[in-house]
Symmetry: C2
Subunit: 513 residues, 2 copies
């Protein structure tokens, strides 16, 4: 049997608490991947998927709906247009994408020490995106407000594990739809200085985002550098809609990054098989990325994949399954072969509350995401209920897991210190390593430290109120928000942003959606 | 933003519930691995660890304590003996182990359709092992009893995801220590017909286990076939104790399998680094396996690794960390190179209750366990509180995850049906796959189905009582135990077992420990 050892304890409860909270002082701006990715398919298998994607592009085609300029661009590049159906000669999309899409790029943050490398050997985490509801243990589930939005931006800013502050971290439904993007963009720029994501609900809102970025970064800088990443979802199966294409066009024209993401619930928008989902996802993404590169060759892009299986019983999406992981593994490998940055995964779950289901499904998504070698991890913190709800406690728990598991990417240290042979020689059979020089020199950094997990004895845990993880996380997010201090901002810049928001609020009718 | 689709619903709530519970009717006796393992280290990295293990065996040595016959056997095989310290010329252990240890073997169950392949391309799950406490939502944490023990054997028997019924699934502390093994072995043989694990607390109890197995399988059969797997832990660092060696000797002599497992809390029994833990684990395991092969060349064995990092704050073990996963990846690869079956991982956690911490830490152990290519997964269901507690709800949740994630091992289907190109051609852009022939033909088997996870709408979930995963699991274990029916057993065999137990109870003083 296994048992908890009577390890040496020192410093008492207060000392340990202090050590625990001092653990993550400095955020590295992003993770560097040295660990090899997991290969779920052989070269041959990946080639098979690629061939099938070309067959889909060539024979079945992709619809570009309600956006004639896309059809014109694609026709000029050699695609065959039939109404809104676009068929691509084999290899055309791959050729266009690989000719000009950058393999990696810098996502600039307001604070340059937080600039992110997207692609290559870097991986970054960003909060969950798009929930109309929020949840916390005390108030339960409710519609999100701008206050919630700002809270999550602040929490992301304060979290060393979140490399960016995200985009629509929740929908501030107390603000008119046509004005929301102004408040959201301002919040990202004011309450955080991390890299952020722009509005994608309409081209003029995308333009507002770009204009606000220019007030912060400067006009010329924005045109030549990525300062926003923008989530462009396909209308799967095999279609792109005008709403997303027009937004992608605005961002690409200004050199801003697009996250081109087929959004698949397998069984509804794609076949129920992993290889089918993969081929279709690749075809849709290639078509979307081709369009972006035709708008502006060299525009930064991320190849995204969001795939969940559909419960054929309830019609609802499921998360944290082996099949979803297999899709992530395959798509990441396909993106590597294409030479573009890859986005997928996160801390996804179907659970309504931060319970064991949430914990298991989220970890079951996050770990495959990391092992796949994913570059950009959206939905890395807060996601509940299939994305319908942003959870306060869940955010804390997820960010904690991101911190713990991001360490995997560093790979295994085989330096002399890592091999620790001298320590083993020194200690020898039957002794313990607790006080050795090697242990003392390494224990601070040897393991990730959780601020949520409880590893204490049962008696101690009971003494502290027998709290479950959600209750501990509840305390943590409240404490964090109470101790929040905004990053510095140049007063002129802040005024310019506020003036812009006020002017655009006046100009935009608040009843248009 | 992502949202829950308005998928088609059919059959109503009752229909869906029925379909859900009918999902896992037949257990396959074990999992077949087609998915490739994850390689965390290169060949060069693995060779480095192997070299360091040889250095430990050669220079530092391994203590074989209080068991002179082991020293005699090892000396005769070429090891250098210095008191109880045994040093092995480089390569000696590897040579002895590879010369005779089987690469895979059959673990015979009372019901032959449940015979397990151990090693090769097979993977099996067995319940958690060794907890003095049990926990359920209603009664809380308490000392385990024989009733609890029998309950977990029954639950394991009923669970399609558990391939064996385990060993000391919890400690029946209401039974005198010296008699427990009789009741436990009888329970495994009577309330389940799956493969089981034997008693390891004393050589005479091991002998009783073998004798009881002979009453069921026949004397000659047992001597020539593995009918029990037996957990033999090292006294890490770098030591083996008489208690475990003497038990291993009994089992090996009768051709029964030993699970040779260095048990490491990194920072206490080994260095805090992954490469250090790996080299030491390999050295300890090689020494232990060498002893077993000297007792009986060809005796079935499993190379085990249990490694957790020690919280330097609380002195308690931590679970579900990236570092623990790295150890599993490396040890599995080392076992493959050695050519023996590998055991590690499970659904491990430090949490006292089946909460989000339990869910996350367990999944964070299980998924690396599977991706590593682990053959024998002990502690696959029930584990709470670092193994001190066996949880009823946790058992249900873990077995559910094992069922869902065992599917990963099948790999990705690249058959024509898996590629689903015809379905994609048939559906085309903008349509949905819900009613297509391909979807209808595949959806029953396309995805794993959870009996614990809730994927319903928020409204429906609320209507059903807003239950969290632990509460749902609570209902499930009660329902399962209520519907339990024992497997058939030959009456003569049962009487012989009962007679044996009664006789040994009379013979063994109940106060000896």
């Amino acid at each position: 049997m296994t048992s908890v050892p009577k390890g040496r304890r020192s410093g008492g409860r207060a000392g340990r608490k202090a050590a625990r909270s001092a653990a993550h002082v400095q955020a590295s701006p992003y993770l560097i991947r040295a660990a090899p990715p997991y290969d779920a398919l052989s070269e041959e298998g990946l080639t098979c998927i690629e061939d099938n994607a070309e067959t889909i592009l060539e024979e079945v085609g992709i619809d570009f709906r309600g956006y004639p300029t896309a059809l014109e661009r694609l026709a000029a590049a050699g695609a065959n247009i039939d109404g809104e159906r676009v068929r691509f000669p084999r290899g055309l999309c791959r050729e266009i994408v690989t000719a000009s899409a950058p393999g990696s790029f810098t996502h600039h943050a307001r604070n340059p020490i937080r600039n992110l490398q997207i692609g290559g050997d870097a991986s970054v985490f960003a909060p969950a995106y798009g929930s109309p509801f929020v949840y916390d243990l005390e108030a339960g589930r409710r519609y999100a407000t701008l206050e919630d939005f700002c809270n999550f931006v602040k929490l992301a800013y304060m979290s060393p594990a979140m490399h960016g502050s995200g985009g629509t971290v929740c929908e501030p439904v107390d603000i008119p739809v046509a004005h929301r993007h102004l408040d959201m963009t301002y919040a990202h720029l004011r309450y955080s200085d991390k890299a952020f994501m722009g509005s994608v609900t309409a081209p003029e809102r995308a333009q507002d985002t770009v204009d606000m970025a220019k007030l912060v970064f400067g006009e010329e800088f924005v045109e030549a550098h990525c300062t926003t990443i923008n989530l462009i979802n396909a209308a799967s199966p095999m279609a792109w809609d005008a709403s997303m294409l027009s937004v992608a066009e605005v961002y690409a024209r200004h050199g801003q990054a697009t996250l081109i993401t087929p959004f698949i619930l397998a069984g509804a928008m794609a076949p129920v098989t992993v290889a089918g989902v993969a081929a279709q996802t690749l075809a849709e993404a290639l078509a979307g990325m081709t369009f972006v590169q035709l708008v502006r060759p060299g525009a930064p892009m991320i190849f995204g994949s969001f795939a969940s299986s559909l419960s054929m019983q309830s019609g609802a999406p499921t998360f944290g399954t082996a099949e979803a992981a297999q899709v992530i593994f395959v798509m990441a490998a396909l993106a590597r072969r294409l030479g573009v940055p890859f986005r997928s995964g996160g801390n996804l779950c179907a659970s309504k509350v931060p319970d064991a289901q949430a914990g298991a499904e989220s970890a079951s998504t996050l770990i495959p995401t990391l092992l796949a070698g994913t570059h950009f991890v959206l939905h890395a913190a807060g996601w509940l209920e299939g994305g319908l709800t942003m959870g306060y406690e869940k955010f804390i728990m997820d960010a904690d897991q991101c911190g713990l598991w991001g360490r995997l990417l560093a790979g295994i240290d085989l330096s002399e210190n890592g091999q620790a042979l001298d320590a083993i020689r020194e200690v020898g059979p039957g002794q313990h390593f607790l006080g050795t020089a090697h242990t003392l020199a390494n224990f601070e950094t040897a393991f990730g430290r959780s601020e949520v997990s409880d590893n204490d004895s049962f008696e101690q845990w009971r003494e502290e109120g027998s709290l479950d993880a959600a209750s501990r996380a509840h305390k943590l997010w409240k404490q964090k928000l109470e101790s929040y201090a905004p990053p510095e901002i140049d007063q002129g810049t802040d005024s310019a942003l506020l003036d812009f928001v006020a002017r655009r609020r006046r100009e935009i009718p608040d009843r248009v959606d």
